[in-house]
């Protein structure tokens, strides 16, 4: 298919449709409202469903209901909206239902602002809901990658019967880039007859399925949590994704950065390279599971004097970077949160202040 010029938010909506997700429930919030606007026009054209909920809390339970019935379903929101959805997300994880949540992050805490941010890193990777909850978190750095990650998110959610989050900052939603929708990422929905409440007649069986997150028997609940834990461990073995940049030769510093911030860092690395300072980068594409080993290997490479975690927040991913590096070399953080995106020049200055 030939390329078209799309805003990230539009492309995310179209990608979900191409992935066969025809159920979209949402509540508008800047900077991702264009997803709902686009799908309000597009869903009727493809026989899909778009329902605007009365709140994000309601939306999360609409998602739960559709996912429990075995439908491909998704929502999009931005930081405060995701906070409101956290109860529903926990229920969906507890009930082992597949669904896709897209968070186009804005500055916080509270209402914060509407400009780009990566301040929901810890929420997405650690605190998305009560209980032992984890999401598989994908972090796109371009509109094209957002398309591919959204299309990939649905089969991943079904593989693990666990929600997947696509975590982009406001720039991913608002910027325009040429995109295409790869046919090879289209996937057929998995068979859900063994667990979904999709109707006995539908699946030709005489037994009922029950979707629930309530386990009053403590032994049963513990076993349920152990089963979910094994899924997270499988994600850590099978789903870690990352991209390296300028890693082939020797380098004196390593940058770790995700999302659009990594594109600023690329420009910074090119500037430093032209000036004779070699700096490499690891860009995590999955934030959970985190590419601990890749960051560790890159940081421990001979000649690497320092590691920098560059983020649009007040220092969140840096905790994972420190876990990976295990104190073998100094780990520095640089970032901003509030809407100002650190510039390539600021990144260069940060690295140069440590690595001469």
């Amino acid at each position: 298919m030939s390329k078209v010029l799309m805003k990230g938010n539009e492309a995310i909506g179209e990608a979900a449709i191409r992935a066969g997700a025809l159920n979209y429930f949402a509540y508008p919030i800047t900077p991702q409202s264009e997803v709902a606007e686009y799908l309000s026009r597009r869903m009727p054209e493809v026989g899909g469903h778009f329902l605007q909920g009365e709140s994000e809390v309601a939306v999360s339970y609409m998602i739960f209901g559709a996912a429990g019935c075995g439908e491909r379903v998704f929502t999009t929101s931005s930081s405060p909206g995701i906070s409101l959805m956290s109860e529903g997300i926990s229920y969906i994880i507890g009930a082992e239902c597949p669904a896709v949540f897209v968070n186009i992050m804005r500055g916080g805490p509270g209402l914060g602002g509407i400009l780009p941010s990566q301040a929901d890193y810890l929420q997405a990777t650690r605190g998305v809901g009560h209980g032992d909850c984890r999401l598989l978190v994908l972090a796109p750095a371009s509109v094209q990658e957002a398309v591919e990650m959204v299309m990939t998110a649905f089969p991943l959610a079904e593989k693990y019967r666990n929600p997947v989050m696509v975590l982009g900052d406001g720039l991913i939603g608002q910027m325009m880039e040429p995109v295409e929708f790869p046919d090879n990422l289209k996937s057929a929905p998995s068979n859900k007859d063994d667990w979904a409440t999709n109707g006995m007649d539908t699946r030709g069986r005489k037994t009922r399925n029950l979707v629930k997150s309530l386990f009053l028997d403590p032994v049963e609940l513990n076993e349920h949590n152990l089963k979910i834990k094994r899924k997270y461990e499988q994600m850590e073995r099978e789903e870690v994704r990352f991209e390296g940049y300028n890693q082939d030769g020797a380098y004196r510093a390593l940058i770790v950065s995700f999302g659009t911030m990594s594109r600023v860092c690329r420009t910074a690395i090119d500037i430093m390279k032209a000036d004779g300072l070699e700096v490499a980068m690891i860009r995590p594409q999955t934030l959970f599971p985190y590419p601990l080993q890749a960051v560790r290997d890159a940081a421990w490479k001979k000649g690497c004097q320092a590691v920098f975690s560059i983020e649009m927040n007040m220092g969140q991913m840096v905790e994972d970077v420190r876990l990976a590096v295990q104190g073998r070399c100094p780990v520095h953080w640089y970032g901003k949160c509030g809407g100002e995106v650190p510039t390539p020049e600021e990144v260069v200055e940060t690295v140069r202040a440590v690595v001469q």
Binding site: K3, V4, L5, M6, K7, E10, E14, T30, P31, E34, R41, G113, I114, L115, P116, G170, L171, Q174, M175, M176, E177, P178, T260, R263, V264, R266, T267, G339, V341, P342, T343, P344
Partner: protein, 249 residues
């Protein structure tokens, strides 16, 4: 100035605009980049130019992002008060109505996308100089919902209804940003010319990315060309130095 030839008749091929010009179009078709480049182009041609950021719809990538450039070039930019620059609120600066009544200068109104974006114009209906105002429709056929003449016509009708104004001309803005190649420009010109004929409204000009100007020069276009030097870029890119043929802006 570029010269074109239609049916053996040499025609003048420069962009000549004056008075009040509204830049409208469906969401994402490139209105703001066109408005910024057009303002600088017309300023370099010796006109007094003002730009009003009337985008009450988009939260990012609005004309106000280019405020420092425009100020440095002596182009007045009317926008919300600085404390509300980053708000997603429908703030309207009353200075706009004053500009509308000043025929001595070119005033570009950069409206928001689609029919929602031009609704504000209906509220200004009493202040608009209806006999001289022009509303130009920016069309990028490489956008969803703008890729066929029928889709463009439908969007045009909705915009006219919401603005309570008629579209008076077309701006062809075919591009895929940095992935634009000459074929996109040539096919986009044909698309815009065909749409113009079908709508019975003139094709005012087409845009060509500055990097493709030399490649495009041997080709015949039925309208003037506005070079585009990208200003609305993400933080990892630098805006292109804004110049115009025949002199620096």
């Amino acid at each position: 100035m570029w010269l074109g030839c239609l049916g053996g008749i040499v025609i003048r091929m420069s962009i000549l605009l004056k008075g009040l010009v509204i830049i409208a179009g469906d969401f994402g078709n490139g209105k703001t980049e066109v408005a910024i480049n057009l303002a600088v182009h017309q300023k370099a041609a010796g006109r007094k130019v003002s730009v009003a950021d009337l985008d009450l719809v988009n939260p990012y990538f609005r004309t106000r992002e280019a405020r420092r450039l425009l100020a440095a070039l002596g182009i007045e930019l009317v926008m919300p008060d600085p404390q509300y620059l980053q708000a997603d609120l429908p703030i309207f600066n009353p200075r706009v109505t004053g500009l509308m009544r000043d025929p001595s200068r070119l005033t570009l109104l950069d409206a928001g996308g689609g029919d929602a974006g031009v609704t504000v114009l209906a509220a200004l209906a009493d202040a608009l100089p209806h006999d001289s105002v022009r509303m130009l429709l920016v069309v990028n056929p490489l956008r969803p919902y703008s890729s066929t003449p029928e889709a463009c016509l439908e969007r045009c009708r909705k915009i006219e209804k919401a603005a309570k104004l008629a579209v008076t001309g077309i701006i062809g803005n075919a591009n895929l940003l940095e992935d634009t190649v000459l074929e996109h420009v040539l096919a986009g010109h044909e698309f815009a010319r065909s749409l113009s004929q079908r709508m019975g409204r003139p094709l005012e000009f087409i845009t060509v990315p500055a990097s493709l100007l030399e490649a495009a020069r041997p080709h015949q276009f039925s309208c003037p060309v506005l070079p585009i030097y990208r200003q609305l870029v993400p933080p990892w890119r630098k805006p292109e130095p804004l110049t115009v043929p025949g002199g620096a802006a």
